[in-house]
Amino acid sequence: MNPKTIFGLFVAVAAVQLAVPVGQVWKHENVLRTGTAYKFKTAPVDPYDPFRGRYVALNYADTQARLELGEPLRYRAPVYVMLRAGTNGFAVFEELRRTPPATGDYLRVQYGYGEGTNASFQLPFDRFYMEETKAPQAEAAYWKHGNRRGQTNDATYALVRVKGGRGVIENLYIKDQPIRQFLGTEPAE
């Protein structure tokens, strides 16, 4: 092949390669800047992902909603959960739909199991990245301020911006303080 053709192809390939990360940045920056803010109650653990530094892995409380009966869904199938702002801005899951709704805030989630009044699902934003030494501290702080189900606890939650079915975590909160700020005020042990 002649060098000019190869160069042309290289430019095309490079454009696609750059478009993947740049497109991700654009999409998620847009959600963060213009999306509606909701709070999601959390319960974290801290695994280690060598490719992406350290993060706090997040689980969410009460990820169940009503799903109208119909064709059985396979595990991890995409479904759409309708959102409503409850007390203090905490998100309330209204119902699961099989197709994206025309109006209202919703999230694209993965279907788990069950039908009728309590079908379970998984939220897509399941990790929060922090500086490598801070993620374990964050986890310790979470455990100390308890968020295990059934216990009275301080509010620990993720503030998530939602737009067009996509949700991006803006920050993580303990006792209504951003996690980084909270770790700064917490006396070291």
Binding site: P3, V25, E29, F125, R127
Partner: protein
């Protein structure tokens, strides 16, 4: 022609001219035909430069990834987003400059190709970190591999192609564990095959195609297993599937890299022969055949998907047996011996389905014994010590396995051990003496 052969010829020429076998003029013409031989050490130096450029790119790329993975909290989010894409932008600019200035040196192309490949993975992962994206590992690997492959073709760089092969294999494994459709593995492998054809056009014994073929042979063995996991796991057709795959590797290798001067230049034969013999040893145990559950499976799972996977799995043994039949007509005995595995596996599998499990094990015991003796005879006839020992090793393995497998007494086992040991020593002694007499 192989460089080593040319070197040998050049060493012989002065002697041949001196003894009057060749006129000096003919020797000169031969030299002109084959060109200047490499100065001693020059090719080693060239390879050192290439390898160091790859190592340099890998280390610098890895270091940048680790630095960025620290997740500097002092930086604002947009700033981190820019920094995430920056390594890819820099590597791409280098690649463009390379092509624009038409720099053809291997060291440049491999180094920049490596850097760009790493930068693709780094950029995607770092953007995910900046925006706290979940994402699945298999999706990440597949995106990375697919974006990196064109670099292999455009920059003529080997490492992106190798990373692609490893990447799609990891993807296949990951998808299989999440019960997805991993059969896409085969078309994905197909995308990388032109690279092998393309790099081996000039000289198929060159390290570039040979290295690619090594990685291809190893990853295909793993990836195929994942991709047709239903067939392996539930139908228990794995003897035929892997027998076919290993034999096919060996038979294709024997046709494609048949005149290699060193063992490392026979990637497909090495992987194929090792796999085939290893599989035959496993199949010589009765237990390997006792769990075939064909009917149970058919009753329980949707037939369309299983039938589709079975059809894919049948490609290996059918192709291998077709090549094997050709090996008979060519009287290529080492190919006939290794290539027999899939045919035997199919017979054993069919027997096991009709509840005659013992037939497969008996067949493979006889096969291993014949293979050991056959290899031994070829080795003795060609006076090749390595081949003789390989034959003895096969015999030793099959006998040892039988003793652990059956309920023979300690005395019989002990005597057999000693006999095999003496066999090794005596054969080697005879060969060394015969060699000494020849020299």
């Amino acid at each position: 022609m192989n460089k080593r052969h040319v070197q040998w010829l050049y060493e012989e020429l002065p002697g041949l001219v001196g003894k009057g076998v060749l006129p000096a003029e003919v020797a000169e013409r031969i030299r002109r035909h084959y060109g200047e031989p490499d100065a001693p050490g020059s090719s080693a130096k060239r390879w050192a430069v290439v390898l160091f450029s790859i190592l340099g790119a890998v280390l610098i790329g890895g270091g940048i990834i680790l630095l960025l993975a620290h997740n500097w909290e002092e930086l604002t989010r947009p700033m981190r987003a820019v920094i995430s894409v920056l390594p890819l932008a820099v590597a791409t600019a280098l690649g463009a400059w390379l092509l624009w200035t038409q720099r053809a040196s291997t060291a440049w192309r491999e180094g920049v190709g490596t850097a760009q490949t790493l930068a693709i993975g780094a950029s995607i992962a770092l953007v995910a970190q900046t925006y706290n994206l979940g994402g699945r590992f298999d999706e990440f690997m597949l995106t990375w591999a697919l974006l990196a492959l064109p670099i292999a073709y455009l920059l003529r760089a080997t490492l992106p192609a190798l990373l692609y092969l490893v990447g799609i294999t990891v993807w296949t494994g990951s998808v299989t564990f999440q019960s997805g459709n991993a059969l896409w593995y085969f078309p994905l492998v197909g995308l990388a095959l032109p690279f092998l054809w393309w790099t081996s056009r000039e000289n198929r014994y060159h390290p570039r195609p040979v290295l690619f073929a090594w990685v291809l042979a190893i990853t295909v063995c793993i990836g195929s297993g994942f991709a047709v996991e239903r067939v392996c796991g539930k139908l228990d057709a794995w003897p035929a599937l892997f027998g076919g795959l290993f034999a096919l590797l060996y038979l294709v290798g024997a046709r494609w890299w048949g005149e290699a001067s060193a063992a490392w230049q026979r990637p497909l034969q090495n992987v194929g022969a090792l796999g085939a013999v290893g599989l035959a040893v496993v199949l010589s145990f009765g237990d390997a055949w006792s769990h075939t559950q064909w009917r149970y499976y058919w009753d329980n799972v949707d037939a369309w998907r299983a039938g589709w996977q079975l059809a894919v799995a049948a490609i290996w043994p059918v192709a291998a047996i077709a090549l094997w039949v050709r090996s008979w007509t060519r009287r290529a005995w080492s190919e006939v011996m290794i290539g027999a595995v899939p045919a035997l596996a199919v017979i054993g599998w069919a027997a096991a389905l009709s509840e005659a499990e013992v037939l497969g094990a008996v067949l493979f015991n006889l096969y291993l014994f014949a293979l050991g003796i056959g290899t031994l005879v070829i080795g003795l006839r060609e006076r090749r010590l390595g081949v003789v020992n390989a034959g003895l090793a096969v015999l030793a393995v099959v006998i040892l396995c039988r003793f652990f497998d059956s309920d023979l007494g300690f005395v019989v086992r002990g005597v057999a051990f000693i006999a095999i040991g003496i066999g090794f020593l005596v054969t080697n002694l005879m060969l060394v003496r015969a060699k000494g007499a020849v020299q």
